[in-house]
């Protein structure tokens, strides 16, 4: 059952030199209760997509067109106060680096209780009770509840942020780079935590990250983005075993695996500027399989497997071959 | 070349800054060309026109010794600009040197210099200026020096913070690992990155200096024998013109002072805006 459907979303950022095409005609679907990995590098638009889902884009950004349908409702058409109801309650987000922006003057349980107090009509006492519940759920016991952020380690603070995000029992959780700046062992534990919360509450989870291996350990589906466009969508196993888009293939080939001694190959060149971007495929300049026709490619979707969609000129007509 | 044209593009975007620049250019133009464009020679007196009202012949009227106020106001632009720019130059130079030494060498040098700086930040500048000017006399040079002496402190602080941050940056460490000495690092790596930011502070220093000079002269502490807007306002008071309500004597120079100060402030803010975000990328 689809819980999020994005149709033809285009977001531009205004700068003094023109507009930056951060997201161009993006369409995707996310099933309820699944973990989706939104993978891309800098400039891919993945963070913009996350912010758009909560309608908290910065002032310089404009949503030029498109629909974001969450549980049947196009949130782009909602009034701001209706949106406020959704934000933090139905859809929650763990922001990149949020663990460094906890309020230093308020203790942990009160900070975690805050979203409840804002959204629900309950007493502070009740909110704190629920907050403590959630803190225990993320592995922080009563020693921590009345402490202040500076007394906690990075990993513990990240758990606090996650607790804050789930305290209102949201349907959808978006986590933007939830493991940056954490040491390897803590990273593994945080990912494990996210997975267990997801399972327990049937939480629809979207993990935004540049770290494909990390995301692939718990994701059901993977969406690969490049240059403000979607390249490929598919189930985890399918993407890893059978990637079709040259960018995805390039990405996979560039990841070293300590256990397997293979040569890794990077993708040559650098991402193009999205300032007044060129028409056609945005990966063209770096693509090993590029053809002339790619310069006018309009990003049609081609289904190349069950639930496996690729947006690449090379697969034109391949629909006849599959299924 | 890319840098300068880039800079100009950025600068143009800030309308206040552009307005400020235009105003300053107008004032400079008037000040420099005063002898050629003023309707009268300011020392020409017409004893029949003693504190006269504005007429077509004398747009701002005349003062108590029959001189044309409009011409006086034009010549009056010179000293504020002179004082402003020279005092600011000394201020910035002192601030830079002290900030650089303090920030780069740290330790005892830093402690001593910063305590001195603190002192100069705390003292009430205008009052001190009056006191010192009263002691050393009120010639133009003294006024300039006194102003500069009491204005360098904030710049020094700003420079010091930047230097402290810059000296830890990797490109400095690489230079050190290649046997760079302190003076190389200061002149080649630190100063070029500090100076653009100091420009913004420098503009504010000019604004302050102009105000300080006008105040000192207005109060009669500075030398009133040279024509400046401040001195015109001073005489407006003393001659009794203000008491009889001859606002055209005192108001125009006052407005000009405010406009000139505002222009530098606007440019200063504009420059800060341009250079500060870049600094974070530095």
């Amino acid at each position: 059952m689809t819980i999020i459907e994005i149709k033809n979303l285009t977001v531009n950022y205004k700068t003094n030199k023109g507009y930056v095409s951060a997201l161009d005609n993006i369409s995707l679907e996310i099933e309820r209760g699944t973990v989706t990995g939104l993978v891309g590098e800098s400039g891919s638009g993945k963070t913009t997509l996350g912010l758009a889902l909560l309608r908290i884009l910065p002032p310089a950004a404009t949503i030029k067109s498109g629909e974001i349908i969450v549980d049947g409702v196009d949130i782009l058409k909602l009034k701001e106060d209706e949106m406020v109801d959704l934000r933090g309650k139905k859809i929650s987000m763990v922001f990149q680096g949020a663990m460094n922006y906890l309020n230093p003057l308020i203790n942990i349980e009160e900070q975690v209780a805050e979203p409840l107090i804002i959204h629900e009509n309950i007493t502070k006492k009740e909110a704190i009770r629920i907050a403590r519940d959630k803190l225990a759920l993320v592995g922080l016991d009563e020693n921590v509840w009345r402490r202040y952020p500076h007394e906690l380690s990075g990993g513990m603070r990240q758990r606090v942020v996650i607790a804050m995000a789930i305290v209102t029992s949201p349907d959808i959780l978006i986590a933007d780079e939830p493991t940056t700046a954490l040491d390897v062992l803590t990273q593994a534990r945080i990912i494990k935590l996210i997975k267990s919360l997801q399972k327990e509450f049937n939480l629809t989870t979207i993990i935004i990250s540049h770290d494909l291996p990390m995301v692939s350990e718990i994701a059901d589906d993977i969406i690969v983005m490049y240059g403000g466009k979607i390249c490929e969508i598919g189930r985890n196993e399918e993407i890893l075993a059978n990637a079709k888009h040259p960018y995805t293939k390039g990405l996979l080939a560039s990841i070293p695996d300590p256990k397997t001694p293979k040569e890794i190959v990077g993708i040559p060149g650098e991402p193009i500027s999205l300032l007044n971007p060129p028409s056609g495929c945005r990966f063209y300049s770096r693509c090993p399989s590029a053809r002339e026709t790619c310069k006018t490619y309009e990003y049609e979707r081609y289904t190349v497997g069950d639930g496996h969609v690729v947006l690449c000129n090379l697969y034109e007509g391949s629909e006849d071959e599959c299924c | 070349m890319t840098k300068i044209s880039d800079f100009w593009l950025e600068f143009r975007r800030n309308k206040a800054g552009v307005v400020g620049l235009v105003l300053i250019l107008i004032f400079v133009f008037i000040a420099v060309l005063a002898p050629f464009i003023s309707p009268y020679n300011p020392s020409t007196r017409n004893p029949n026109l003693f504190l006269s009202h504005p007429t077509l012949a004398h747009i701002f009227g005349t003062n108590e010794i029959g001189q044309d106020l409009f011409s006086l106001d034009m010549y009056g632009a010179r000293i504020p600009l002179e004082v402003g720019l020279i005092a600011a130059a000394i201020t910035v130079f002192l601030g830079l040197v002290i900030g650089l030494l303090s920030g780069y060498f740290g330790g005892v040098v830093d402690e001593v210099l910063m305590r001195i700086t603190d002192f100069f930040i705390i003292i009430p500048v205008l009052i001190f200026m009056i006191i010192i000017a009263a002691f050393v006399g009120s010639s133009l040079i003294n006024v300039i020096l006194v102003i500069a002496l009491l204005s360098w402190a904030p710049t020094a602080r700003v420079v010091r913070s930047m230097v402290i941050s810059l000296r830890e940056w990797p490109f400095v460490e690489v230079a050190k690992a290649n046997n760079a000495g302190s003076s190389y690092i200061i002149f080649r790596h630190i100063m070029p990155n500090v100076i653009p930011v100091v420009f913004g502070t420098a503009m504010l220093a000019v604004a302050n200096s102009i105000f300080a000079q006008a105040s000192l002269v207005f109060l009669g502490v500075g030398d009133v024998s040279d024509i400046s807007w401040g001195s015109i306002m001073h005489f407006a008071f003393i001659s009794g013109a203000v008491s009889v309500g001859d606002w055209w004597y005192i108001v125009p120079p006052g407005i000009f002072i405010i406009l000139l100060i505002l222009s530098f402030v606007m440019i200063g803010y504009s420059l800060e805006e341009i250079f500060n975000p870049r600094l974070r990328k530095v």
Binding site: L185, T186, E217, L251 | T2, F171, E173, N178, N179, N193
Partner: protein, 317 residues
């Protein structure tokens, strides 16, 4: 001969307490580290925050003085020579930092940045040499890049300039401190392969400092694992990766993300302690799943357990 021979390196940083407090606390960033790197070899140093890896890198190029220990660069002990001699040695070692942005002076052209070490050390050179180095680091065509400023370069290009600057003195030894961590994933491989190529072409020894075991496994012949200022395991990369002996190394190997859906068991509790409060005995003991009594009291020593495979742990006799 070993290009780098570091013995018993210690670096303690005193923590400024109030003037009324007599006891001076120290942060023991490095507490007895040995490291040897052969000519033309790439050696990896894996450590996380608080391990002391960056401090070690800086000490090896003479930027920071160790509190104790000796460092021999090509047989010369740099901790006990005159400043003039130190200047000579500095010509043979270089360092590359993590952040491409702050590694280049924004007011200097690419040309000036690359030429800087040569000018500082009064070495004559011609344009050809600069061109060749730029070609070697894939800044092609060199003419295009010479007069650019850092803000006109991408992150990857900036880092290439930093590498070119390190190579221009034909050093014997380069410390690369997390050189790819701030680069996009898809271009990291380009850099790692570039570093390998340069190592082979110029026969320059390299110390690759990283927190990412996957990177360390790809690029070093030998790997050392640093934890809270001490080396807990060292050996040939393939051997340590496939047969980790120290519980910390084992935990690291289990924790590194690899492609594919999986469930992971993380047995290690807690997080890396603050280096100001180093646990007594084995530094890892509070978090170790197999800690024994002796681990809480006695610090283990680095011992050879397999061929060229060293570990510092009481589990191994």
């Amino acid at each position: 001969m070993n290009v780098v021979e570091a013995k018993e390196i210690r670096k303690y940083f005193p923590v400024k307490e109030s003037i009324f407090n007599r006891k001076v606390r120290v942060v023991k960033a490095l507490d007895g580290v040995d490291l040897n790197i052969e000519k033309g070899q790439i050696s990896s140093l894996v450590g996380e925050t608080g391990s002391g890896k960056t401090t070690l890198g800086r000490i090896l190029v003479g930027l920071v003085e160790p509190t104790a220990g000796s460092i021999k660069i090509e047989g010369v002990d740099i901790t006990s020579i005159s400043r003039k001699q130190l200047k000579e040695i500095r010509k043979r070692t270089q360092i590359i930092f993590q952040d491409p942005f702050s590694s280049l002076n924004p007011r200097m052209k690419v040309k000036d940045t690359i030429e800087e070490p040569l000018k500082l050390n009064h070495i004559d050179f011609d344009q050809e040499k600069i061109f060749r180095i730029m070609q070697a680091v894939d800044l092609k065509p060199p003419e295009d890049f010479l007069n650019r400023y850092p803000h006109e370069l991408s992150g990857g290009q900036k880092q290439r300039v930093a590498i070119a600057r390190a190579l221009v003195m034909s050093p014997d030894f380069i410390v690369a401190d997390e050189p790819v961590s701030m680069l996009d994933v898809s271009i990291r491989a380009n850099f790692l392969n570039l570093i390998r190529r340069l190592n082979a072409e110029y026969n320059v020894s390299l110390l690759m400092i990283t927190h990412d075991v996957s990177i360390a496994s790809y690029i070093g012949k030998e790997i050392s694992i640093l934890y809270l200022g001490k080396i807990v395991e060292r050996g040939e990369t393939k051997e340590v990766i496939n047969n980790p002996l120290h519980p910390y190394t084992r935990a690291l190997m289990d924790a590194i993300p690899t492609l594919g859906k999986k469930e992971k068991e993380i047995e290690i509790k807690g997080e890396i302690p603050n280096p100001i409060n180093i646990p007594p005995g084995c530094r890892f003991n509070p978090r170790c799943p197999v800690a024994m009594e002796i681990c809480k009291e006695v610090e283990p020593v680095l011992k050879e357990v397999g061929k060229g495979h060293f570990v510092s742990c009481h589990l191994y006799k």
